[in-house]
Amino acid sequence: MRRWRSILISLSFLSIILFSACSHANDDLIVNIDQQEITVTRDMYHEIEAGVNIADEKDYDLPLEYLFYQNGVKVVDSVDIIQDEAITTYAWKEIAENIYWRNVSQIEIDGQLYTIDQLNVHRGGFGFAVEHSITDVAVLTAEALGISFGDKNSGFVLSSMPVDHVVWFFLDGFGYEQFQYAEQEGILPNLSMAGDFYPSYSIYPPKTSTVTAALLSGLDSTQNGVWVSGIRSLNVPSIIAAVKDSGQKVLIIEGSSTPFNYPNAEIVLSGDRDGDGSTDDNVFNHAQEAFQAGIPSLTMVHFHGIDDVGHTYGPYSEEWRVKVKEIDQMMGQLLQELPASTLAVIFPDHGMHNVIGDSELGNHGNLILDDMGIYIILHNK
């Protein structure tokens, strides 16, 4: 009798353990990325949420894209949402702005909450192999200046190295898709002929502060700690510090504010003091003045206008086209005025897509080619 009692107690105990394990497994989400299956657990969900929701807000809108990007997806083409064996396929571009991860297996699409069993993710992208990323720019700069930075190789082959100066032309919001469009429309006579053109990827989230962190650190957002907008400082080494440590200087010519902190650099702000509604003419003037006065080893010239106009009027709008032509003209002039022994590196931080809204007609921040597709142009003088 006593033996049977012991067996019964043991069996009950085992049942409880098994039941707990099963119920936990039911909470998990199966994500299938190009035939590779990942089981997303509650712990994984909380880890991502804690890393992104840095202000610890209640009911935080956690984009599902963090999960995809952390698993190596740079662009999403479409997803299949499987619920009670029913499959619904969505083009990612159509829902990316309005899909949030509410809990491990719960997602919200356009305000509607779904508990799902499985998610199939189909990658998108350029449609051809792309080897470069915005993180290569810092490494390339170190290679061009002949200084040490990190242990990676940029993968670029430069015709003349080292050079005396590297100048970064940072074309905010003017991504690969927008460049291609403008080139086809014939409104990029200077930039389309500026140098060797390398299609590249941005990092997620494709926003100016997070991409700037990747640009300066040479590390992806999953590695450099700047995983969300709102963080302004790096806790990992930056190319600016590396240039300074080598006894050289860095000049940053910005618009009206610094989207990210640039310790160890000389900063020139170019607010709209003439009140014409744009900072680009002031950035342009400051760049010209710097080229004439003599630039240090590394200079960054950040044009914000295409992004600003794209947000307000939408990319590809008439206002946007006018702005693109203006920046192209400025770039043509600045490239001519560069001092000898300079490597100019031209790149955007991200692209942009059209949105329908009251406050703006363009936006960025999603895992779609419009936002994530960028390029790096190398121009040697």
Binding site: G230, R232, S256, S257, T258, L269, S270, G271
Partner: protein
């Protein structure tokens, strides 16, 4: 001394202590530099700012670039008072606010209407509420919060 007098004296002392504590300026090592197009470049310590006339901005919208907007209340020194003391040029067009962490932003004169250098947030010293963000903050009530620079160390006046 009677028991009644002793009680009264104790009450007065306790009240005096409480009032004194409430008004006490925190001992903060911080300097705000005013530079650029001014007659006299100046430096204001935290104590200097705390002793100047204070202005309240109650229930103003803090329009954030990330997260939910908030209704907030601040008090501090009018920016205009600081600029007058430094002799800022009448025709200045903007101010560059520089934070201790390196963030800087150029703000047009029109956007600075009603601005204060805040020392308190919801009647509490900023240094005690958010000690990691510095003890003073520029609050420009007519603009989004990306111009409300916290931890400001310098205001450059531009023409």
């Amino acid at each position: 001394m009677t028991k009644k007098n002793t009680t009264l004296l104790t009450l007065v002392l306790v009240m005096g202590f409480l009032v004194g504590c409430g008004a006490k300026i925190p001992n903060v090592d911080w300097t705000l530099k005013i530079s650029g197009e001014v007659a006299t470049p100046m430096e204001f310590s935290f104590a200097d700012l705390a002793k100047m006339d204070q202005t309240d901005l109650n229930d103003i919208m803090m329009e954030k670039s990330t997260g939910e907007d908030e209704i907030t209340s601040w008090s501090g020194v009018k920016l205009d008072d600081i600029l007058v003391q430094a002799g800022a040029a009448d025709d200045y067009v903007s101010i560059t606010a520089i934070a201790s962490d390196g963030y800087s932003i150029e703000i047009a004169k029109e956007e600075l209407t009603g601005a204060i250098v805040a020392l308190k947030n919801s009647e509490e010293w900023i240094v005690t509420v958010t000690p990691d963000k510095g003890p003073i903050r520029l609050v420009t009530p007519l603009t989004p919060a990306n111009r409300w620079v916290f931890g400001i160390v310098e205001l450059q006046v531009n023409k």
